[in-house]
Amino acid sequence: MTEFPTQSVGYAVSHLDALEAEAIFVFREVVAECERPVLLFSGGKDSIVLLHLAQKAFWPGRIPFPLLHVDTGHNFEEVLAFRDRRAAELEAQLLVASVQEGIDSGLVAEPPSGMRNAIQTPVLLEAVEKYRFDALFGGARRDEEKARAKERVFSFRDEFGQWDPKNQRPELWSLYNARTHSGESMRVFPLSNWTELDVWHYIQRENIALPDIYFAHEREVVDRGGMLYAVHEVLPAKPGEEPFTELVRYRTVGDASCTAAVRSDARTVAEVIDEVAATRITERGATRGDDRVSEAAMEDRKREGYF
């Protein structure tokens, strides 16, 4: 390959620019090849970055697909408010698939633990079927978790929404095969190659607004097995638990019943970057009760059709 001039110094592309270009390419590829894409938007930082990239990919046009939030009913108010504000600003269509409605209709049953993460899957799949979505953009990153580390950028799901990790489609170069039969779908992860730190550097560079809970604030929490859970209207302290006030922030935002806060005094994006760069614990390890259930909790959820 030395037959080409070595002009790369003049034509350098920064790491963040390369990640952005890749994500934009992925968005455009899906819109060109799939009939009914949708973007999974929770109001969490990864999905906020995802939405920002979608906006860039189709500029000066509008985002050519709706947003879908699978609402567990266990929300942080400021995140919901953020979700609605952002969708309105972009004049995007926001669809909500409600886990509470799923419980009320008998589609799913409230788990005894009160953690609604696992029962999101049937609710998500019902929405996929109802709207006949054939491509779902998700903000998952490979650095998050060991099963995610194995997943393709374009991840095929059968008519039951299931992921078969032993039989993934080969994925060469950037030639993505998005073909599906009716009822099957693709999960597409434009942020596959981003790390948590990349996401924060990008948030800083692009000046992306986030819900306040990502920054240090005082909150009433309880300690459950070393994790700090917010005392919340639908998730009060259990008998024997002593609520206390702590300076915390959230590293991830998911269902409030299984997302813990971390002790932090990082009040700005720059301070969060310093904190994330120095941390010795992964994002999910520090904050997710749902991954602690078993060694392969994420893989098992994904096999069933989870994000």
């Binding site: 060109a32 990790p165 032993k166």
Partner: protein, 416 residues
Amino acid sequence: MDLLRFATAGSVDDGKSTLIGRLLYDSKSIFEDQLAAVEATSAARGDDYTDLALLTDGLRAEREQGITIDVAYRYFATPRRKFIIADTPGHIQYTRNMVTGASTADLALILVDARKGLVEQSRRHAFLCSLLRVPHMVLCVNKMDLVDWSEEVFEKISAEFRAFAAKLDVPDLAIIPISALKGDNIVERSQNMPWYEGTSLLHHLEHVHIGSDRNLVDARFPVQHVIRPQSNADDRRDYRGYAGQVASGVLKPGDEVMVLPSGFTSRIAGIDTADGPVAEAYPPMSVTVRLEDEIDISRGDMFCRPNNKPQVSQDVEAMVCWMDESVPLTPGRKYTIKHTTRSARAVVKNLHYRLDINTLHRDEGASSLGLNEIGRVRLRTTVPLLHDEYRRNRATGGFIIIDEATNKTAGAAIIV
């Protein structure tokens, strides 16, 4: 800071995942909770030592069987460079996953077990890496601890591999004796092999020169999507832009471009991004190009320069690696192919030969390509492909073959 993407390769159990685990561990890139989880799993299985391969072998089935099944992607950085690792499986059944990992790599780490030397799978992977034109290769002679750190064993395997590589297209080869398990020559130079005068693996990965691996000469812009906002805002009403990622070369406003396959020419009126116009676009930028003239252009068309065009043809010659276990590739069969942003139907006109991986002998009597077999074919497509030789242009020289009944990605093809 620049980025190096590298993939592991080599036969099953030669130590690829252990090596990646060791590299991450010794470069302090493992988080405490990840290490604790791996230690607990290893202890529960009754391992004598913590199995660092578990850092990448994350699937249930992988842990049960003690092998890698699909590629794991890991990310780490040293003060000198960022790295994206693809740890691929050695098992022959999962060769397609190895190909997936190697297709985007700048460098391949080929592992060989010092006790066994080169085996068929080491040759197959080395061949596939050269076919995919992974620009840099490192042969890691692993498990040196099990051969008494013997220089003689190392030299014998090195010589054998060099002889094989000489028949391939390997532009840059380094050879390092290591013990992935014990950490010798991974991050620090080994005390056990004073006869080895080269650098540690990490040092090599941090310093290998990767600046010149991009094609900045041949302007190629596959149109991915036409942006035509349905808007009444004055500045957008007549907007028509061609969105895509620059495959190679450099585009500038004012440049004369030819649109293929139609052959019409125009000039670039502007190159837009959501952050404003840019003066130049080059790989891997994703941009939106506006032209001065209204020409009928759709997804799958390509912009190039009138004096530097790709091949425009419905007949292509390609090396194919077959990846479908259920149906072999046979002459006469029809497929869908995806090349740049263009899809077409294609029929296999001819299978010239199948390659024997051990000897590189060409079997011209072959009548099909089964799973993991490699051969040379001629295809006829329904619409012209706008292509270059893969060796000149990775982005316009490769395509995938899709089974029309199952939609599976059945083959990878490299235009020769």
